[in-house]
Symmetry: C2
Subunit: 147 residues, 2 copies
């Protein structure tokens, strides 16, 4: 397709905001994304996060090799990202925006309303070994990679 997603680099470990195509007509609105392009990988799996109690954060970890794209399809979610040196905060509040979180970017999520729904695409099958939940280990891995 000729139309492509606008990508907005966040300056944090390669993370970017992806603005998807919106198609509006009297029957409703579609947010549309092609895998391998708008979402910059073909996903192995997806998950939907919902029924998150108020003021509870989720996440606070990084992945060794898994890429993720997060889209808030209902309500709003505040995301904190950092690569050990630089940090960014973004608000996701509609299906038209995706956040690409590359490997070795620390990511924490704060659900701002109880009915928020977060859609997450992952480039790799589930592997508990891919999670880095310890902050000191994250910083050590970052330092070791020379990033």
């Amino acid at each position: 397709m000729a139309e492509r997603t606008l990508s907005e680099d966040l300056g944090v470990g390669g993370a970017s905001l992806r603005h998807f195509k919106l198609v509006r007509d009297p029957r409703g609105t579609l947010a549309v994304a092609d895998f391998g392009a708008d979402v910059p990988f073909v996903p192995a799996r997806y998950f939907v996060v919902f029924d998150v109690p108020g003021e509870r954060g989720r996440g606070g970890h990084a992945h060794v090799s898994c890429h993720q794209v997060l889209a808030c399809v209902r309500g709003s979610v505040r995301i904190e990202l950092d690569d050990g040196a630089r940090r960014a905060e973004v608000l996701l509040d509609g299906p038209g925006t995706g956040l690409h979180v590359p490997p070795m970017v620390w990511c924490a999520q704060h659900f701002l309303v109880p009915d928020a729904v977060l859609l997450v695409f992952a480039s790799e099958p589930y592997d508990p070994e891919d999670y880095v939940r310890d902050r000191a280990r994250f910083l050590a891995l970052r330092a070791a990679s020379g990033a």
Copy 2:
């Protein structure tokens, strides 16, 4: 993974309900699906349908070769399916259930609440030629295929 999605055949052109794994903990709930398994294909694209005005239907078409999986991640959507001979109606009302709609199954959607959000995975890139919107053509193609 050892745990697999339960699939429930609807008796309409191969359409089935897929019950995804739900992971609940104090931080919220996850509905999890692997592509190529729980969702029985690796998608080329996805779209999110939202802001649908009350009592408006969507869909009412079939695809020649594209498979789709529909999941209602917020609110509820009533789906009518038929293969020209047999019909079924299903209610999608949470992220834990997906509806697999194979090619040449007619599908119409009715958004039951204004804040309903429907997530759709498609096995093929967008191709307007793949849509069959004319009911008589659908029935003729069905008859020609001997299905």
